[in-house]
Symmetry: C2
Subunit: 331 residues, 2 copies
DNA sequence: TTGTACGCGTTATCAC
DNA sequence: GTGATAACGCGTACAA
């Protein structure tokens, strides 16, 4: 809680001198430097990040925001760790916000980012044309989109090849002999969801399988909707023999529905999920998934953000990472 | 990015007047109020939380810190959500830090908390006598301990009855006929760990079972150590017939070891874990666990913190929540 | 080499 | 009712 003033008084110098020894570079005579350093130690001085931020209107807050739908979703938790690891390595701290896919919460938190003068924000936009995010991006705040992207404004983006991931997953099911493959998707306004559906459709087309529209069901990315939609598919007159579920939580919900009906996996119903889980191996049965490099997504997003903070003018970059099909015993 | 100055200029009043209409309470003549409000809207004014924080040296930052070992641990993620939900409800934002049970990281982040002038911090201390946390607590920064507590300094605490939880879990195993029950514990300097071990010992004693010391193994709360220690127990000349594992991640590791050896659960080895998981139902087999009300822990911690911020002098409170044994099919 | 003084955007205390 | 103005803690141009 000691201020520059107090340190200066104790060392019998001016605050400018103290500031100089703190910011290394400048020339100070060894004797005074020693005196100042002693005072610094005696008073256990720590600079106020708040005052610093007020003084210098950008770039040195050493604070960034991360706005994600839900930290309890292991996929976003892994992204968050990636961001945090890269942030910590650069002495940055993280303002974490859960938007719950709720535009009002997202808007509130974006306001907080401005009000806190953070150096930048990492987030998956709510959807393609997320007004609040577009506004703040255009206001000059450095933004890096992860997972999802924006359609009208170009920002730095770190994304995963969702089309490829879905294509591989569905092709794998087809190779296992399935022709009637259910798709459980999430909100259709989200870019990643659309790409995964395209991957599904393209894989069917590539195998010459004609799609059945009633096998496609849209939910909201949450566990419960996976359960409900799986039940809908099971109640069809001609149910699918395999399921491709576009995210982790809905896959867990699908598993619950299948277990409840005592169906055997993969004999009665094969399942591929999107997003790996640390305990996918311990599930019943061990789950075949499309693994996204989520930690790497977060890490690279933070790196991109740091670069943009250093060099605000540079053209936006898009990093595209490859997912990987991890075959376990649910297919 | 508009400041009070600019708003005042546009409305042709002084900044004091603008400040007055912003902070409601005071009297402003309707005409000028209207003019100010128009200027406010035109310029899309948002107050700077940074400037506010610099001016008022405590209590109104609307920012709190949360320092946890690892956000990827579902238990801490749930606590984080509890904290965040209560924070959001009070217009507070959250500075999230992962300490990785690493004292240097913890110290760095505690420094950040001071430097950012946060209103308070929620954290599970590294251990009983965590110096860095004790220092900052004694400096007057409002601190609420969750999950774990401190031994020499009294702060607000929200904890779970770990002894009871462990006692119930082990008694349940005994009721199922087990006498040789392995304990896989975590770091022994952590208060929760010690309480859970006491619960284990007391349950054995209450049933008149003499403990076997070689059935107790200490790890580090992480998945890998659960796997390794389970293998150690299985390699004993007289292995246990049941396992009590003191946290979620180590339980997943234990499951992996058991599956690898093709042991049947619960026939060959019964398993009870500590901490519930959203997908415990989908595990193989569905896992019997001691469920902690983690969201509630986080929520109440934040409430306690808010109360302390309002009333710094009040005596520290300890809230103790009850865990619940959830019996599924692993026992 | 060192010190003085200003401004960052608020809130709060005075005068008028 | 309203307007100057003094902090808060820091960095930096400028003066000494």
């Amino acid at each position: 809680m000691a201020s520059l003033q107090e340190v200066a008084a104790r060392a019998k110098v001016s605050i400018a001198t103290v500031s100089r020894v703190l910011n290394k570079s400048e020339k100070v005579v060894p004797a005074t430097r020693a005196a100042v350093e002693k005072a610094l130690r005696d008073l256990d001085y720590r600079p106020s990040r708040v005052a610093r931020r007020l003084r210098m209107n950008s770039g040195r807050a050493n604070l960034v925001g991360l706005i994600i739908p839900d930290i309890q979703n292991p996929f976003f938790a892994e992204i968050a760790r990636g961001v945090e690891d890269a942030a910590y390595a650069n002495q940055y701290a993280l303002l974490l916000c859960n938007s719950d896919e709720n535009l009002d919460k997202e808007r509130f938190y974006l306001d907080v980012m401005r009000a806190e003068s953070v150096d930048g924000v990492v987030l998956p936009p709510f959807d393609d044309r997320d007004d609040a995010v577009m506004d703040i991006a255009q206001s000059g705040m450095p933004i890096v989109c992860v997972d999802r992207s924006l359609v009208r404004v170009k920002t730095d983006v770190v994304e995963v090849d969702n089309h490829q991931g879905a294509f591989d997953a569905v092709s794998h099911l087809i190779a296992r002999g399935h022709e009637h493959i259910g798709l459980i998707e999430g909100r259709t306004t989200v870019s990643t969801n659309r790409e995964r559906r395209r991957g599904y459709a393209d894989a069917l087309a590539a195998a010459g399988i004609s799609p059945r529209k009633e096998l496609i069901r849209a939910g909201d990315f949450k566990q419960e909707s996976g359960r409900v939609l799986t039940n809908e598919l099971l109640d069809l007159r001609k149910p699918p023999t395999a399921l491709f579920v576009v995210n982790n939580l809905m896959t867990v919900g699908a598993l619950a529905a299948l277990h409840q009906r005592k169906l055997r996996i993969p004999q009665d119903m094969a399942v591929v999920g999107f997003d790996d889980l640390p305990w996918a191996e311990a599930l019943d049965p061990p789950l075949t998934v499309v693994r996204q490099p989520a930690h790497e997504v977060g890490r690279q997003a933070m790196e991109l953000l740091l670069k943009r903070i250093m060099e605000p003018g540079r053209p936006p970059l898009t990093v595209r990472l490859q997912p990987e099909l991890v075959i376990r015993r649910s297919t």
